[in-house]
Symmetry: C2
């Protein structure tokens, strides 16, 4: 049916977390999501130092923003899940200050900056929803800094997992407290500012506690409440409650 076709577009599904859209707006968003390209896990979409000329939109799979130090250590600063985009204001900079890389096999649209700006200029509701995503991304980054700066290892992991569960759930990619988690333990370590060995030991403890199971790249959370409390998680920064916003259109 028409309806299921609509929500199959990850960008629309993501932005509809913020507000509803008219059919016309949805068509404009569809046009932005054409011609995805495939990447394999580990491939870079763009590297630090390069000039951005498009805005990435993740259609399928996971990617991440990261930076590396001269000694080879890597810090992951954000995950891009289906429907997520890179920075829509990247047109003002002439060099990326971080790289973006595929964490799993994924399909990615490179939206030309000009096209994106036309849509923003013509559709205020879409513009506002896109601005909202930049706010959520920024707030998430701040929360990660809080996570790495102030929480101990177990709390960091607990926080990360509940954030991911919420985000995956919100875009329809989680089912009964479980979701596909394509990260290696090294990826998790580079996200949380810990060592792969230590992450491994934390995971074993969480499994032993009956909190989670993580096998074959799938994470299941058995006690969401306890996990969330362990990470002192508060969902406010994700700005996922649409209650206070008005729907922009009908259908």
């Amino acid at each position: 049916m028409r309806r299921s076709w609509r929500v199959s577009n990850p960008l629309i599904r993501k932005l509809e977390l913020f507000s509803a859209f008219s059919d016309r707006e949805k068509r404009a968003l569809e046009r932005l999501s054409l011609d995805p390209r495939s990447y394999r896990a580990g491939e870079d979409l763009i590297q630090e130092g390069q000039r951005p000329n498009s805005v990435f939109l993740l259609i399928e799979g996971w990617a991440c923003a990261y930076k590396m130090l001269p000694d080879g250590s890597r810090q992951i600063m954000a995950y891009l899940l289906p429907g997520d985009t890179g920075d829509i204001f990247n047109f003002v900079v002439d060099a990326m200050s971080h790289s973006i890389s595929a964490l799993s096999a994924c399909r990615v649209v490179a939206m030309p900056q000009a096209e994106l700006h036309e849509v923003i200029a013509e559709y205020p509701a879409i513009a506002k929803a896109l601005f909202w995503t930049t706010q959520v991304d920024g707030a998430t980054l701040r929360e990660w800094l809080l996570n790495v700066g102030q929480r101990d290892g177990m709390a960091r992991a607990a926080h990360l997992f509940t954030e991911l569960a919420l985000r995956m759930g919100s875009i329809g990619l989680a089912a009964n407290d479980g979701f596909a988690l394509p990260l290696t333990q090294t990826d998790m370590a580079d996200t949380m500012g810990l060592t792969p060995v230590y992450v491994n030991r934390m995971l074993q403890q969480m499994r032993g506690d009956g909190l989670i199971t993580l096998e074959r790249r799938r994470l299941t959370i058995h006690e969401p409440e306890r996990l969330s409390a362990m990470g002192a998680f508060t969902p406010g920064y994700l700005h996922m409650n649409r209650t206070s916003r008005a729907a922009s259109a009908t259908a």
Copy 2:
């Protein structure tokens, strides 16, 4: 003279790091910077959970964005120096996910969101410069996450100090490798994800090494090169080179 009057506006001086402005544009920026209010060190400008209805612009002194955990630990996520603003897109959220607080006595303008948007709509050059500040702020936040996640204590401090020296220098507030640094050691600790006691010991070591002196709230960097190398500092993320951008107007 006229010329010195112009650059005395911290917002103009900051945005001119990105591009030049016409007199008309400068007048518009002047109008945005009226009626500063004074805060004392430690006072909150706005707290997590509150709805933002203006965008803060720092005229004088230092402020910071921060978040706290239930156990009382605080993570500072950004410093606002003279000319810096809070998030210009905060109008899309209905609750702040972090607080903003004065680190020193300071003077702050609360720019009404509507006024700011009028200026953005009417002056594309100003809009672009403001977008540039959001990029710099975001890149700085990512760099801080890298700092806290991957560098050891000494490197974190070295990185932070050279970043601050560059930023203070760029807005004309540093003289011969020194600048006013109103932070307590606790503030620094909460910025770097370390303990005040440990920060104190690092500072002593840096002093002993002849790298810096820090006394009476003034930091002097004696060996910028060595400090910068110690923190594996690369200035790219500050996007301070205006070389590749065209001046928008004359005078």
